[in-house]
């Protein structure tokens, strides 16, 4: 096996990624071999696979970077027969990686889910897929059928369609949805690992995390650690967009220089004003650090940034950061699930004030009002949506302080009406264009 022979080579997850369509089961087996831990004998002592994951030091790739083995131990230690959920409902518009994995390499994600289920003695795997990811839904459905025809994985595998929305992929929202409710975050609900879907212990892992698990089960923890940093081992998937020649999904070594990723993506299309790391709950960094930045959460901690769900957006000097921030702020405010007053009213008020600053129609004291509302609203949602939005907006207002001041004084600039660089879902783009 080539992956085994050269542990430091890339791609890992994206090995044999088809340019178009999905990889079939035969080809998946040809590349990685059949799903391991299939025999009952191997499955006994379910700790074996969790132990591999623990030694590999795999961290969750949905944004939280939580140790995957710790989560598995918690589910394994809870009372009742566990259920495994694969989260392919990333609501972050700047993140495409999980959808792309599900579309192109469904069997890798399914392997990971099946393996996690085997390790925990779970009898059910549910793939939670965003309704807007039609290709991912189709690919998942076909892959499940393919596996059933090949003998099946001795567990029930199903697909749960998740309504589009920034907060629908949140863990408690997925549990609510799978329990027959709406995809809305809950307040102080029991932890899913104790009492999740149908009140059973529920493991919820992001699609990429499960894909890594599928490879760790085959090639081992030492192989996994041959790439990456001590604290953040392995490879990771990133969605790169903005002022770049070939925007898209890339697999890099954790801690790889941003410069090498940019080179692999055909270079920048212009000068960079700033970079957004971690998406719309993330952090803006000055363009000046572009040549020194290294992409892993431990290296980014010095900049108070993280990769979140694997997002890097390059904002060029051609774009207007104020207009871009205002546009995204109003979308984010509208993405509140509408349950918590401070989030509904606070984000709307702040987005409105930013829009006034961008238009040059803000009254004196608008800046202070934004600051006051930001500290007033932080920490007051049932989920982390308001906090994420506010940290993103605060970082925008700081990094683009000069541009904001300029707009407040003189109104819109020439760049305000230029092409948009920060990605939003297609429907939202149409709505703002209308």
């Amino acid at each position: 096996m080539s992956l085994q022979a050269d542990p430091a080579s890339l791609p890992r997850l994206l090995s044999g990624m088809p340019v178009d369509g999905a990889m079939g089961l035969e080809e998946h087996w040809a590349i990685h071999g059949e799903t391991p831990f299939a025999k009952r004998r191997e499955r006994r002592g379910t700790g074996a696979l969790i132990d591999l994951v623990e030694r590999a030091g795999l961290l969750g790739r949905g944004g939280g970077a939580f140790p995957a083995a710790t989560k598995m131990h918690a589910v394994a230690g809870a009372r009742g027969r566990p259920i495994v959920l694969a989260n392919v409902a990333e609501g972050e518009p700047a993140s495409d990686k999980d959808r792309v994995l599900m579309e192109g390499l469904p069997h890798l994600v399914l392997d990971g889910g099946v393996l996690a289920a085997r390790a925990l003695g779970a009898d059910e795997l549910i793939l939670c897929i965003d309704e807007s990811g039609e290709a991912a839904l189709e690919s998942a459905t076909r892959a499940i059928y393919e596996r059933e025809r090949a003998g099946g994985d001795a567990l029930k595998v199903s697909v749960q369609i998740v309504p589009a929305g920034y907060v629908s992929g949140q863990e408690s929202a997925l549990v609510n949805l799978c329990n027959g409710g709406q995809a809305l975050p809950a307040f102080a609900s029991p932890m899913p690992f104790e009492c999740g879907v149908r009140r059973r212990p529920t493991l919820i892992n992001n699609a990429e995390t499960l894909a890594h698990l599928a490879l760790i089960a085959r090639y081992g923890p030492e192989w996994f650690r041959a790439l990456g940093t001590q604290a953040h081992p392995g490879s990771t998937m990133l969605t790169l967009s903005g002022a770049i020649t070939h925007p898209g999904v890339y697999e890099i070594e954790q801690g790889a220089p941003l410069a090498s990723l940019i080179e692999a993506a055909g270079g920048m299309t212009g000068q960079i004003r700033a970079m957004l790391l971690g998406g719309y709950a993330g952090t803006w960094l000055e363009g000046g650090s572009i040549s020194t930045l290294e992409l892993s959460n431990d290296r980014l901690a010095a900049h108070e940034a993280s990769l979140g769900a694997g997002v890097v957006v390059l904002l060029s000097r051609e774009a207007c950061p104020v207009a871009e921030t205002a546009r995204v702020a109003s979308w984010l405010a509208a993405q509140s699930s509408g349950q918590c007053g401070p989030c509904v009213h606070g984000l709307q008020a702040i987005a409105g004030a930013i829009a006034q600053l961008a238009a040059g129609t803000a009254s004196a004291g608008t800046g202070q009002r934004i600051e006051r509302w930001t500290s007033m609203v932080t920490g007051r949602g049932a989920c982390a949506h308001p906090d994420g939005v506010l940290s993103f907006l605060t970082s925008a207002v700081n990094v683009f302080a000069e541009e904001f001041a300029d707009h407040a004084r003189h109104g819109p600039c020439d760049a305000c009406s230029r092409a948009k660089e920060l990605p939003l879902p297609a429907l939202a783009e149409m709505a703002t264009a209308a």
């Binding site: 809950a186 007053g341 509302w373 049932a382």
Partner: protein
């Protein structure tokens, strides 16, 4: 054992009764939703805190006992 106030933000509908009854611990934000002082409740306010929780039409105000024994 200390007691703290907590609000369920999903249940809260900004009636503002809690701030009427217990202004010592609760003020309202710009939209009428309660801003809670989450420090341990002074024992002399316990009775009023219970009345504030009972006054809430949506039962969104909670008195939470700290789990760690002190």
């Amino acid at each position: 054992m200390s007691v703290r106030l907590k609000v369920n933000p999903i249940a809260c509908e900004a009636h503002g009764m809690c701030a009427e009854v217990l202004p010592e611990m609760i003020t309202l934000d710009d939209w009428g939703y309660p801003l809670i002082d989450e420090r341990p409740l002074p024992s002399e306010l316990t009775a009023m805190a219970k009345r504030a929780a009972e006054a809430c039409p949506t039962f969104a105000l909670l008195l939470v006992r700290d789990r760690e024994k002190s």
